[in-house]
Symmetry: D2
Subunit: 326 residues, 4 copies
Amino acid sequence: SDNIVVISKALTSQFVIPEFKTFTDIIDTIYETCKDNDSGLPAQYIPQLARVDPSHWGVSICTIDGQRYDLGETSTPFCMQSVVKPLNYALTLNDLSSEVVHQYVGQEPSDKPHNPMINAGAIVTAGLLKKGLVIADRFDYAMDQFKRLSGQEHIAFNNSVYLSERATADRNFALGYYMRENKCFPPEADLVETLEFYFQLCSVEITAESGAVIAATLANGGICPTTGDRVLDSDAVRNTLSLMHSCGMYDYSGQFAFKVGLPAKSGVAGGVMLVVPNLMGIFTWSPPLDQWGNSSRGVQFCEELVGNFNFHNYDNLRHTSRKYDP
Amino acid sequence: SDNIVVISKALTSQFVIPEFKTFTDIIDTIYETCKDNDSGLPAQYIPQLARVDPSHWGVSICTIDGQRYDLGETSTPFCMQSVVKPLNYALTLNDLSSEVVHQYVGQEPSDKPHNPMINAGAIVTAGLLKKGLVIADRFDYAMDQFKRLSGQEHIAFNNSVYLSERATADRNFALGYYMRENKCFPPEADLVETLEFYFQLCSVEITAESGAVIAATLANGGICPTTGDRVLDSDAVRNTLSLMHSCGMYDYSGQFAFKVGLPAKSGVAGGVMLVVPNLMGIFTWSPPLDQWGNSSRGVQFCEELVGNFNFHNYDNLRHTSRKYDP
Amino acid sequence: SDNIVVISKALTSQFVIPEFKTFTDIIDTIYETCKDNDSGLPAQYIPQLARVDPSHWGVSICTIDGQRYDLGETSTPFCMQSVVKPLNYALTLNDLSSEVVHQYVGQEPSDKPHNPMINAGAIVTAGLLKKGLVIADRFDYAMDQFKRLSGQEHIAFNNSVYLSERATADRNFALGYYMRENKCFPPEADLVETLEFYFQLCSVEITAESGAVIAATLANGGICPTTGDRVLDSDAVRNTLSLMHSCGMYDYSGQFAFKVGLPAKSGVAGGVMLVVPNLMGIFTWSPPLDQWGNSSRGVQFCEELVGNFNFHNYDNLRHTSRKYDP
Amino acid sequence: SDNIVVISKALTSQFVIPEFKTFTDIIDTIYETCKDNDSGLPAQYIPQLARVDPSHWGVSICTIDGQRYDLGETSTPFCMQSVVKPLNYALTLNDLSSEVVHQYVGQEPSDKPHNPMINAGAIVTAGLLKKGLVIADRFDYAMDQFKRLSGQEHIAFNNSVYLSERATADRNFALGYYMRENKCFPPEADLVETLEFYFQLCSVEITAESGAVIAATLANGGICPTTGDRVLDSDAVRNTLSLMHSCGMYDYSGQFAFKVGLPAKSGVAGGVMLVVPNLMGIFTWSPPLDQWGNSSRGVQFCEELVGNFNFHNYDNLRHTSRKYDP
């Protein structure tokens, strides 16, 4: 029956992107432009990331009414790494009240230890997710929710990355102990278990395709556009997008918010998840990273996209008419 | 002829806020709620601000199609102070290319000295505004533009505040010399003149009413809704709103972006300028400040507003239906 | 035969403090003055320290030619805590070359991770001490050397303090992991073992009496004045005293160097070890700590001492004649 | 009659350095070793310093009983720059009580704005020196005292360096305004006048020879060894030497205290003033600076000196016998 809706819409051009072919022609051009960008190196701190082929380059798009478009390597799995941070935050918000979650994590670096888009806050958030359950059930819960967010597409676990992450995690262990000293965790939290859970979440694999559906679920207010499953309530989505908007791209976040003006989150394995609210989710994957740790091609793609389309948060002011509205 | 448009729209309910009475009834309630908030003190660092009556409380609204609503003391003049920062930035962007301006000011604390929403960047920005003219003409130019932004409503200059500011400006002089040491100014800039110009801009007076029209001009993409005058190009507006969104409320900016999700700018004299893009400008004035230097009643008003209406940047996600859309 | 030397010296008044009675009469007065100081609280972070009687107050003196003087509770055991840092540093210097040790620890906060008088550097130093041996033998080695430094007087191990320290060591674990990330340890070091060894060293007990002999061994260039045993070479002592001079009293170190001008080291259990080079070692013990974490009575004693005697590093300039030279 | 004392001492070998020829032979060797060191560049921030010949190299020694030894360019004038800081501090202490001075400057970076050995504290100290007089008389007073400290040897004023310093003083102006904002100056101080006075003091010229006498006056407890004039009281000298010991060599101070263990102060024109208490003053001059801003040859000279002689603060511990005692 979903298919019938898609076909019916297609016949009557009622899609949010009515001229989809015109739109994807421009996407093709941007894809090719970014393909020539070979600046940066894959993350070097663990061999599992360092030895990845730097030429991988995939872009996957999923609109909120289910139109799909894939270019390049969109079905190769890679680890979410920090891309899992907003998902983890959204699931925690969805499960606990916003009041409870924000007792532990903040929106500014200056108050609570840190916001959930950076390691310190993400570790605390991992410590909150279904904290009443045993650790195996917590991991199962997270995987089930990732599956729902991605419309049951590719979600897997990369154990070698996990083991490698845990073995080189001095900085995160330091953070964890430092935060425990500052009473950042719920009293019953087990620090080592929390850190291991966090490394496991970072080691969950997606593809650009399944990642695009996840992004589209966020763009669609929490309802997966390919299954119609309400995974997240709209408050959780609103809060998650707000933080992705301001803090999703490491120390480039301020400039990204200024130039691109859209919620996004990058990960050290080369993924960038971009949300165009009420329109589409986009996922790009390319391992070489720039000086801030964001995928070089991914950032370029986002900037070119907003240069071509009126997607910037403040692009759609009245009396602005130069950019293409797809 | 503008009047005819307004009347015609009114008759056919084509305003952006079709049920204006329903809307203003809720505004009345919020106004009264905030009136009871007597936390905070007026700014104490100069007598001209310290001796202001803390009970002043005015709210003025101007929609992008010219509907107005005023509550409380909306025709009493007060100094813009930091509210002038986004205006100064917008005028500079409008005059010079974005590339030239961003050679001097950044969007992140970590690169260029600072962004134009904080003192360091605002002083540099003041140094750029019509930098080829003599200082008297630069001041005239700024006043003319403020007049146009406010639809020719109340704009004046408070010389006693200016003199008092300049006399207690050790911190800004320190900043200025520090930045000159770091080559932050154009080579031809005169430091003391630049600082004095900056203090003069901060000492320009508005009322909540003229401030609301300025905010509405920003909400309307740079065209003043009461005069139809295109004052700013839409790129300048987009960039200005982007920075106000992330940096307009001092060290509360991150939390404000998270909770309110709208571009705003506060000033130490108690003004808060709030922009609801494509809908309206709002200006609140109440001198007592909270711990971050933002007007206590002003911040409360913004938070209550977004609690009642779907104005938050990520409120209008599909499948969200609980808040009132006026 | 040592006794014969002491007696012979006594008969001929060849001691470094010829008028010992006159000297100790002034010490008595200072002791009583400080006894009235009841400012501060014992360390509160573990119950084993928090529940100590704050009225304990002992001062013990041992000159470099073996004269002794004890006032108050000088035979009650307490943990060295940070007082062990200079001893650990001295033993490491004595065992390894200065070049090897200073590959790992620095003299300034800005170069190597930290100097050995603060936790970070002290943990690294603990990681170096007899690093080729198994951990049990390393602990035995340290205890043997402490015994030699104290002329075989009271040295013991407080296991309950050790267990309590280890259980509340989040900050030191954070430091340890942070330093390992920054390659601060020898490659073969085991982090958890190193931290546990460090907590064990901090939990070694002395008395004010045995502590005074240790201080006198340092004052005497590394030869224990009561046994004649050369425990440390003079280079190790010189380097240790240099660091104690500048960094021994936490964040009060600069002021202490300025006012007292002598090498000292305090510990959180209330001990202060003071070295008057070529003259004597002094150990004071009183649990209540001031805002910097130094024993309130201990710091006052040191300042009064230098107010009475010409012990300050720059007191003995020619043409200075107002202070008493004992 | 002073000469008679010198001759009489010479005949009876009662000088503090009895074997002066043996001593200066070693100094000759060290001088030659350092001459080969051509690392570093003269200070580049003003042309008057940048264009100095980097091959200048002079060492001058004056013992506390008036023996002199000069090698290389010891009669060429150069500006004291930061070498004036301890002199200014000592004169201020000598004039006002230590309590008054330390209301304004501290011994630690963390309390009062800063200690008098760094710019912030030195500017405040300049603001205190004879603050009741008009500025011309304050400058005359300072010059008179410098003359007395140097036994009436070469003291002059370099006006071109002063003008150049004042013209490139953005950083110091920033500091000055910042400190005034923080109420660091006496209420009656005129900020611009204070800064100009400070730049003038930095522009006072000495030679290595006159500088060595100044150093010897400090080594001699405040009495000039060549004139017998008591210029400073011993408390002022003690406090000054204490700060020079810990803070005299910019960010290399901690390592210098550790390795050399003597009070010293360097200036950006290439001078290093070294005090061996109760023995001698040494002044070295060589313009090329190392990464910390200290004269490359000057620092090397100090380190070689202490490698040859038992001058380190903790060298003269008993049972240490390897170094030469001249």
